[in-house]
Symmetry: C2
Subunit: 315 residues, 2 copies
Amino acid sequence: MTDVNAIYPQDRIVIREVGLRDGLQISSGFPSTDGKIEWLQKEYAAGVRHFEAGSYLPHDRFPQFADVQTIVDALNRLDGAHSIALAINRRGQADALVGGAGELTCVLSATEEHNLANARCSRRETLEAIAGTVELRNQSGHKPLINVGISMSFGCSIAGPVEPETVVDLAEQCLERGVDIVGIADTVGYAGPRQVGELCNSMSRLFGDRPYVVHLHDTRGMAIANAAAALDCGARVFDASLAGLGGCPFAPGATGNIVTEDLAFLCRTAGFETGIDLEKLVSAREVLAREMPGEPLQGALSKAGIPKTMIPDNA
Amino acid sequence: MTDVNAIYPQDRIVIREVGLRDGLQISSGFPSTDGKIEWLQKEYAAGVRHFEAGSYLPHDRFPQFADVQTIVDALNRLDGAHSIALAINRRGQADALVGGAGELTCVLSATEEHNLANARCSRRETLEAIAGTVELRNQSGHKPLINVGISMSFGCSIAGPVEPETVVDLAEQCLERGVDIVGIADTVGYAGPRQVGELCNSMSRLFGDRPYVVHLHDTRGMAIANAAAALDCGARVFDASLAGLGGCPFAPGATGNIVTEDLAFLCRTAGFETGIDLEKLVSAREVLAREMPGEPLQGALSKAGIPKTMIPDNA
């Protein structure tokens, strides 16, 4: 069985680039396959090792992910890179297992109302399906990590407030079913740093030395503040999207995922090691500017550069 | 003598709108006088009470502040509004005293190098000039608050790192000279939340129940995270700029001041009272969109709206 702590070393902050999946979920355009490979190679050269490659979904309905297998293959050829793929149904999961993705992500909603609207079944039924996914993995020759992302963990666009205890309880039920890693997602950008800190404290207690993922959106400008609170409360794995790609399906035109390069800068200011070279990371934005010319690129570090206080004397 | 705690009540977070001054310092265009008055009236209607009106500077070199007296007068006619003006030389200070500004802001740099470059004198000489400003105010019939903004408090674009002890020592020297309120400014956006929390802890110890100001720029995307850290460490007064107006003179195209509406939202998520109606505040951006059509308007809350979790049931 793959050791989750080998994939997610606990001596550093792991930033997972999810722009290739979550960033392209509702974008108006998407990069060519060659463009995607150049994008991930540039981030790999900057030190990023964890990538969400895409989603195993019907090609006709999701043309932006039609090349997911090519992207997984490209990642698997890079030494030390970890390929993650969203696979929300049995067909997609079977394809991902055969395709050799290093991690399969399933989705569960924090609220019954959103789970019913999104997955058309109850949370209990989704949890049983997740148990089936774990079983499928266990019987497979290739044994990827199984990840469950709990959407709406900080408030739901349908049901409203979400108690942290609800999320921690769902996370615990995932672990009991053999899930390796759980993510808490501020899907609609409702959270503030106080709330994020509280939930991360509880998650850190539940997970101990095992990793959990914090997935933040900058829908209302709080993403970096929320990440700072999560870091202070023990979170060590974060999803992020280069140039903040990805919007909010419930707020057209809103900003998307937390910006990878600004998050890496935050970690640097707070003395957390990420293994990422900030200047090389920023330079990867060139691929997006060329491949997705109509897409607004977010982020502040890229406009201002590294502070004088962080440039080594011998640079 | 004006009581600083009466102007800055300690039972809430005071957000000072500085867009009319700092936001227009290096902007390519600026609103008409009528546009400025509509702007401040809309923010006043949203609950904002503290405004930096402009700068008393030569009209020919700073046409964006030629109407500063008209703006101060407009503010002074609004019940409970507090007018602040930058006045960095004797002539400007005399004009501000005659003109009835409620607060005069002087500037001191945290580093000797920047003070020499910016004010063409040592920090000691600037501190003596500030003592002279306090004396001028004491002899005046109108007695505004005297504020000193310490620029480069979190790192200097010339000298590099700045120790928190240096800033606290300068703040103490200001208080010893009769200054009422001191601001710590991340002029070039170098700070991260850990550093901001450390300096705010020291400032909170020095100032006790008296207010000090935190002036943040979003140059590298850290402004809201830095404000969250400052709030956690006892800061109660913040400068901010509607739509994040204002750039960075050292980084052309970079983002500017912390966004007023996103900061007010942060306070709301953390349970801090500001007296500000978020939706009314966001609507004030219309004035900027109309009066400054070429200027990029920053901020996320305005694109996404208030979360469902914050809308009262009877709304």
